[in-house]
């Protein structure tokens, strides 16, 4: 065997300095993300929005529920109320900051829940036999027959308004697409040789799923789930706007939009602010998902 190793001295010599530490896929993805300026900026904005919502009590200048008829519909730049006030005289900035808590919570929780349930279902469907696959995927197809907004409204309409019901209905809406994505990713991975090699090594099924399939499916699901957060924020705000989500007087962006709608001719800019918050947050999550996708799309040299 000495002659064999002697034939590749170049490779070994060059690799020696950093030889001991191989770079994992995720380390490479991390570095690519760091080099992508747009994604870094967008990620910063998302972090800032989340931080504002989390630290709302310290960031807010007023009590978000404290209104007064005397200072209704103040324009932007009013002393003490720099983003103005709403139709009952509550401070817009404070309500936006507190509203972010509910909006982000209602936007992200359904995606998390749907990823957990849908991911498992999709994995089962992708790995299982023809019968199991048909069973899961045809049920999923039924949900696809309804437009997602309509489905969410219908579910909320039946089970009633409220935060818990919003989250439940949005979870139901997001499970089918996540099942589909997970199933197709799983089937792709399953057909690769390394899974066959693992089967040939007499390893039990659960070990193959855990060590061979899941690590190779996770990235794709992550990207998809991130892109769903944007949609989820819009949908949950939409449900609140329609009176099916968060109930007044709690601050929530969709609900604020609905309330300020009536004063759109009096102070149009203030009325648009919750909408701006929704658009910016949703857009940032979508851009983040795009950045993540391109960072993970590594064409490895073979």
């Amino acid at each position: 065997m000495a002659d064999i190793t002697a034939l590749q001295p170049a490779a070994t010599a060059a690799d020696a300095p950093r030889g001991a530490a191989g770079r994992s896929y995720w380390a490479t993805v991390g570095e690519r993300l760091r080099r992508d300026r747009l994604t870094v900026a967008v990620g910063g904005v998302v972090l800032a929005i989340v931080a504002l919502a989390v630290f709302a009590p310290w960031v807010a200048t007023h009590d978000p529920l404290d209104g007064s008829v005397l200072r209704r519909l103040q324009p932007i730049g009013t002393p003490g109320y720099f983003l103005g006030t709403d139709e009952t005289g509550r401070d817009i900035w404070s309500r936006l900051v507190y509203g972010g808590r509910l909006s982000l919570f209602c936007g992200m929780t359904p995606v998390l829940l749907a990823t957990a349930f849908g991911g498992v279902l999709g994995l089962v469907a992708g790995i299982g036999g023809r019968l199991l696959n048909s069973l899961v995927m045809r049920v999923v197809d039924v949900f696809y027959a309804f437009p997602s907004v309509l489905l969410a409204i219908a579910i909320c309409g039946v089970i009633g308004a409220g935060i818990a019901n919003t989250i439940l209905s949005l979870t139901v809406v997001f499970i089918p697409p996540i099942v589909r994505v997970t199933e197709s990713l799983t089937r792709q991975v399953k057909s690769r040789d390394f899974v066959e090699a693992a089967r040939a090594s007499a390893a039990p099924m659960h070990a193959i799923i855990r060590h061979q399939v899941v690590p190779n499916v996770l990235g794709g699901i992550l990207v998809y789930a991130t892109s769903l957060v944007g949609i989820s924020i819009i949908l949950s705000a939409g449900l609140s706007f329609l009176g099916l989500g968060v109930t007044p007087p709690d601050p929530e962006w969709g609900l604020m939009l609905n309330a300020l709608r009536q004063s759109i001719f009096v102070s149009p800019i203030v009325a648009a602010l919750p909408g701006v918050a929704i658009v910016v947050t949703s857009l940032c999550f979508n851009l983040l998902a795009d950045g993540l996708r391109s960072a993970m799309d590594i064409k490895l040299p073979t």
């Binding site: 690799d15 030889g19 001991a20 191989g22 066959e196 090699a197 090594s201 039990p204 690590p215 190779n216």
Partner: protein
């Protein structure tokens, strides 16, 4: 065979050196193809149709044939990665899946495979050490540290320095290095039989030679038996003791490598050998040895499957399917021209 149901520990030679390590009889796999529109039933792709051979301990069996002839399917059938439709696989005297035989799981512990595509056969999210240690850990419940040591040892055995490569990921390695990892992974379970499915076909010629040397060394050190599947006749000639030639899911000729390459009898084998690139420019032939593509395996020709491309095809070839018959010693051919009284006008011409 003692008929006991308890399985022997790995690598124990049970039947003695005379008993074939692997005996395959009538192995068959027809894949369902597309459903016929307005028709009855389904099209069946006859990937492997009645393959039989035996493999002595410590020997290397070469399997050659055009792509699509069922070589790789046969390999996967042997490991039960695909369930055979019919046929017996007997590993060292024990029938696979039979009530007193060997379970598929235990068969896989003794029979391992090296795949052609060195990249797609390695988990891209795992380190080299984890890839090699996966089998022992998952299938044999070896402890983490123990399996790590095993991986380190195996890396040394296949000529990769553990300190340099154990923590690497597959994409950081070259094709030859990855194929070494593949071999190490296959050896991790201490198999007795290694199936090399086009294991060196995707490599550069110089790297191919290194890997072949490695395989030779390993065979000697670990007393391994190989099934060497390849379309590269030069390589097969170089490594094999016995050779099996497949055409459209059937074996058309089998025998010792020297005989197959020295005096091939089946017209298909002869054509294949003529297609071999010659190292001698003076002996170069310009006439194509084989015309056309292999027939569609969904609807193979009646009788002899090679008759549509055979220069000597006659009426009997379309009517009767030739059996694999002994012509001399270990040499077996499935051709009517080899069988006296078969009805073929050229009977005995090959003599």
């Amino acid at each position: 065979m003692n008929g006991s149901t308890t399985l022997p520990p790995n690598r124990v030679d049970r039947g003695g050196p005379a008993q074939p390590l692997l005996l395959v009889r009538g192995l068959k796999k027809h894949f369902p193809g597309r459903r016929r529109l307005f028709g009855r039933g389904r099209e069946m792709v006859q990937a492997v149709d009645g393959v039989s051979f035996s493999l002595a301990k410590g020997a290397t069996l070469g399997v050659v044939g055009e792509s699509g002839c069922g070589k790789s399917t046969t390999a996967r059938l042997l490991l039960h990665l695909i369930r055979p439709d019919a046929g017996e696989i007997i590993f060292d005297g024990e029938g696979v899946g039979e009530s007193h035989g060997i379970a598929v799981r235990d068969l896989r512990l003794q029979m391992q495979m090296v795949f052609q595509d060195s990249y797609s056969s390695l988990n891209p999210r795992a380190t080299i050490a984890d890839i090699i240690a996966f089998g022992p850990r998952a299938a044999k419940h070896m402890h983490r540290r123990q399996s790590r040591e095993r991986a380190t040892h195996l890396l040394e055995q296949v000529g990769l320095q553990p300190a340099l490569y154990a923590h690497r990921y597959p994409h950081e390695l070259s094709g030859g290095q990855r194929q070494r990892v593949n071999i190490a992974r296959a050896l991790a379970l201490e198999p007795r039989l290694l199936i090399l499915d086009e294991a060196v076909s995707a490599l550069d010629k110089s790297v191919e030679a290194q890997i072949l040397n490695l395989l030779f060394d390993l065979r000697r050190e670990l007393a391994l038996t190989y099934i060497f599947i390849s379309h590269d006749l030069n390589v097969v000639r170089h490594v094999s003791d016995r050779v099996v030639v497949m055409y459209l899911g059937r074996i058309v000729e089998a025998g010792p490598a020297a005989v197959i390459f020295g005096e091939p009898r089946h017209p298909y084998t002869q054509a294949l050998l003529r297609a071999m690139p010659s190292m001698d420019p003076d002996r170069r032939s310009t006439a194509p040895p084989l015309v056309g593509d292999p027939p569609n395996p969904i609807d193979p020709p009646s009788g002899c499957r090679f008759r549509t491309r055979c220069a000597f095809a006659e009426a009997v070839c379309a009517a009767v399917s030739p059996e694999l018959g002994r012509v001399a010693g270990e040499h077996e051919v499935a051709c009517h021209m080899m069988v006296p009284g078969s009805g073929h006008s050229r009977t005995g011409c090959g003599q």
